[in-house]
Amino acid sequence: MNFPLLSSLIILPTIGAIFILFGRSSTNYNSAKYISLFITFTNFVLSLYLWYTFDKTNSDFQFVEERIWLEGFINYKVGIDGISILFIILTTFITFLCVISVNSTVQNRLKDFLLAILFMETMMIGVFCSLDLVIFYLFFEAGLIPMFLIIGIWGGQRRVYSAFKFFLYTLLGSVLMLVAIISIYWMTGTTDVIELYQIGIDPRYQNLLWLAFFSSFAVKTPMWPVHTWLPDAHVEAPTVGSVLLAAILLKMAGYGFIRFSVGLFPIASEYFVPLVFGLSLIAILYTSFVALMQEDMKKLIAYSSVAHMGFVTMGIFTMTSQGIEGSIFQMISHGIISAALFLCVGVVYERMHTREINKYGGIISVMPRYAVVFMVFTLGALGLPGTTGFIGEFLILLGTFKVNFLVATIASIGVILGAAYMLWLYRRVVFGEIKNPEVNKLTDLNRSEMLILSTLAFVSILFGFYPDPLISTTSASVEGLIELFTTNIKIYTASNL
């Protein structure tokens, strides 16, 4: 058997966390910081190596590891295909940057914070790797614990409320998914995703099972009307918490939609397309309008996340290769850009201790470098050609036009609204006269901030001009998924004639 690359990706952060937990350095946090830097960097390199050795022309699962876990019942099974590998790289990349930025953003109990981030990384990678429904559920739910603590311990004023809301909302959503997973086991005798792809699930039960999975993913995405936990969680979470939440946690749901909802329940997915389109459109338009009205920078970006994820869900359920590839691209792009935007907000928040847009204005004259990077991400978020944001939205709209002209037209309005709120945010924060004397005291980006933000800007522009590495990685697997989907639909319609 080959070297268990995926399992080591999953377990490495936990090993690091254990070292930090039992390493006795209560006053000096340096060792904890170096350990976590080392671990997350190794993980990032490992994941890049994974990408390098990954066979892009093959739509099957690769690097599959299987171990007996519960005798004759559930096996520990991990593996990746073109869809999941990008999310793994995103996770390791963003976590690495988070650990670098922790230095300046977290003052108290740094050791515990690093512990939480490392545990979080294990869970997130686990979600994207697992090829067994029960293992997936385990990782999916376990991620709640560190995030709850991150929001609750290091959060802002209403942190307790937000942490509880986050935890209970997501738990409530996931509970039905557990019922569905167990039901699938009793129907088919397995929870192995690859086997389930082949066996297929009885069309009579697909609708109910789809809804059960949907309840969990819709909360996590978040889709309108269960999105209300997200603005609260984002606003109260510390900067790094917001970054992890926006960049990776939300992607778990999008990934879940592709892998499980579309893959396991094709007939139900087809049936529920109008529902998803409807909710996505509401999310795109409604939350864009809400974002226009926000006075809090973080809240504005949080609502824009809901709108962007609306595009993602819409793209997935077009069931076209453009739509799904666009959704994956959009998720990666949103992962990079929203992470960067939250970091940008974090930069000024640490200096001014306010996130109110009105308190800023005219910071271009005191923080020119900041103004430049912030502009890159603003343009990325509104989907300017040349940034990753454009390619994702463009592909999604392309796929949607193929399926439903009306929906695509309405969604395009969302693009305009997105430009409106992002540009308005940028204008109010960066341009204009300096009204608040505090702004004059601001200092420009320091070296580590510059490093992190320019890396993100570079990645965003690089893949904006040259998206091929990402698209070519996903395309074979997406084609495979769509083929599976269409054959299933054909068999079903043939049997109903």
């Binding site: 876990w69 519960l70 385990l138 209970l168 509970v175 009793w186």
Partner: protein, 471 residues
């Protein structure tokens, strides 16, 4: 045929209790000696019981006493937990000045009662064991006799428990009257043609047993008794008698009354749903940790009963798994409680936990693990306990029970989260002492270790439990 080596553990324990009594009476100041000796006796007993494992189903005493995998598993579980209860509560018992020779002896006799209950295959033997167990518990509840709450809880427990024993006995007599036998196996064969008398008896017996495991609507005694008793006794209460009573539940439902499944299944589903929901909702407003754990244990019993309500072997096994993990969680939680000590006063209010994490990181992380495990969040052991239960429940297509049960875990998660919030998010209030008795630390380390690492190899428990085949 008499086969005395099968009941050698029971004989050994009875002799040991008597000799301990002699030592205690004739030797001055022998409290500590008796306490330690009884711990050693439990260890020997554990070895004796485990020695019998994977034996074929055997009867002793004219088919009135049964040794099978279920009884051996539950006995070893109870004794194992009892050893840790003894080790972890030693310092507590000592500093509360209730270290008298009677204390360990009462615990041992209560364990003897449980062993008899677990193995019984006859109404009379069962009742004998039950009463031996309960009588010891009444005294233990009021053991801190200078404390008015403790005396009250002992009295309350005695009165209400005696009432339930009365109901149970009445049920037994009805069953005997209509089926003509006290032997479980014989009752099973005669009760196949449904007699209303037997059904009545069954209902009374279920009520009595539900009382013993404090399931809703027979739970009223639990919060007061839990709060009033000395914490070491509360630990004993909330762990061992429940395991024993649950085993008896399994025996009653699946041996003599297995043909009446349609009658008792509805009752059990109701009790189980009511316990889960009530346990989750009523715990939200509690201020005392012991009271809170009382309500939480009511909820947990609801889940254990949900497994029994399925009427399958899978269900029984899931209940046994559930109770095993529940015992470990209880042990871990109370070990944490024993550590909340300042100048030999033990704190048990929720607000005393405020900001615990800044001064006691290790204790807080243990509590974090225990509480998330109690809430059933993966990857901790508590999740697996619930997972098996719902596996069994959904196999029987009892979706209503499964969905309500899972929704009540979300409600229950709220009050566990509230505790975590107080420990981790609130401001620190003061320091507790950190010089704990060695046995207490070991207990905490082992129990939280099991909870946290259970997910690595969950098969161990499954293999053992899968040998329990009742029907």
């Amino acid at each position: 045929m008499m086969n005395l080596d099968l009941i050698f553990p029971e004989i050994f324990l009875s002799l040991a209790i008597m000799s301990l009594l002699m030592i205690g009476v004739f030797k001055k100041n022998s409290e500590k000696l008796v306490y330690n000796l009884s711990t050693i006796i439990l260890v020997i007993l554990l070895a004796l019981v485990i020695n019998l494992f994977s034996i074929d189903e055997t009867f002793v005493f004219n088919e009135s006493y049964k040794i099978d995998n279920l009884s051996i598993f539950m006995k070893s579980l109870i004794i194992m937990v009892a050893i840790f209860v003894m080790i972890s509560s030693f310092s507590y018992v000592k500093s509360l000045n209730i270290l008298k020779i009677e204390y360990p002896i009462l615990i041992l006799s209560s364990i003897l009662g449980m062993m008899i209950m677990i193995s019984s295959n006859d109404l009379i033997i069962f009742y004998l064991g039950l009463e031996l167990q309960s009588l010891a518990l009444y005294v233990l509840a009021s053991f801190n006799r200078d404390n008015i709450l403790s005396s009250e809880s002992g009295l309350k427990y005695f009165v209400l428990s005696a009432l339930s024993s009365g109901l149970l006995l009445y049920g037994c007599s009805l069953v005997y009257g209509f089926s003509g036998s006290t032997n479980f196996t014989t009752i099973a064969t005669t009760s196949s043609n449904i007699e209303y008398g037997v059904t009545f008896g069954l209902v009374f017996i279920i009520v009595g047993l539900a009382f013993k495991i404090s399931a809703v609507p027979f739970h009223m005694w639990a919060p007061d008794v839990y709060q009033g008793s000395p914490t070491s006794v509360t630990l004993f209460f909330s762990a061992l008698p429940k395991a024993a009573a649950l085993t008896v539940f399994i025996r009653f439902l699946y041996i003599p009354f297995v043909n009446l499944i349609e009658q008792w299944q509805t009752i059990l589903i109701f009790i189980s749903l009511a316990s889960m929901l009530f346990g989750a909702i009523a715990a939200i407003g509690q201020l005392n940790l012991k009271r809170l754990i009382a309500y939480s244990s009511i909820g947990h019993m609801g889940y254990a009963l949900a497994g029994l309500a399925t009427g399958t072997n899978q269900g029984i096994q899931s209940s046994v798994t559930y109770i095993s993990i529940y015992l470990v969680m209880t042990l871990a939680f109370f070990s944490c409680l024993f550590m909340l000590r300042k100048k030999s006063i033990f704190y048990e209010k929720i607000e005393d936990l405020s900001g615990l994490s800044s001064n006691h990181p290790i204790l807080s992380i243990s509590l974090l693990i225990v509480l998330f495990s109690l809430a059933g969040i993966p990857p901790l052991a508590g999740f697996f306990a619930k997972f098996y239960i719902f596996m069994a429940v959904i196999e029987q297509s009892m979706y209503f029970l499964a969905i309500v049960g899972l929704l009540s875990t979300v409600v229950a998660a709220f009050y566990y989260l509230r505790l975590i919030k107080i420990i981790y998010f609130d401001d620190p209030k003061g320091k507790f002492e950190t010089d704990h008795y060695f046995g207490l630390k070991v207990t905490l380390a082992i129990s939280t270790g099991i909870l946290a690492l259970y997910f690595i190899y969950p098969g161990i428990l499954n293999e053992l439990v899968s040998k329990i085949i009742i029907i």
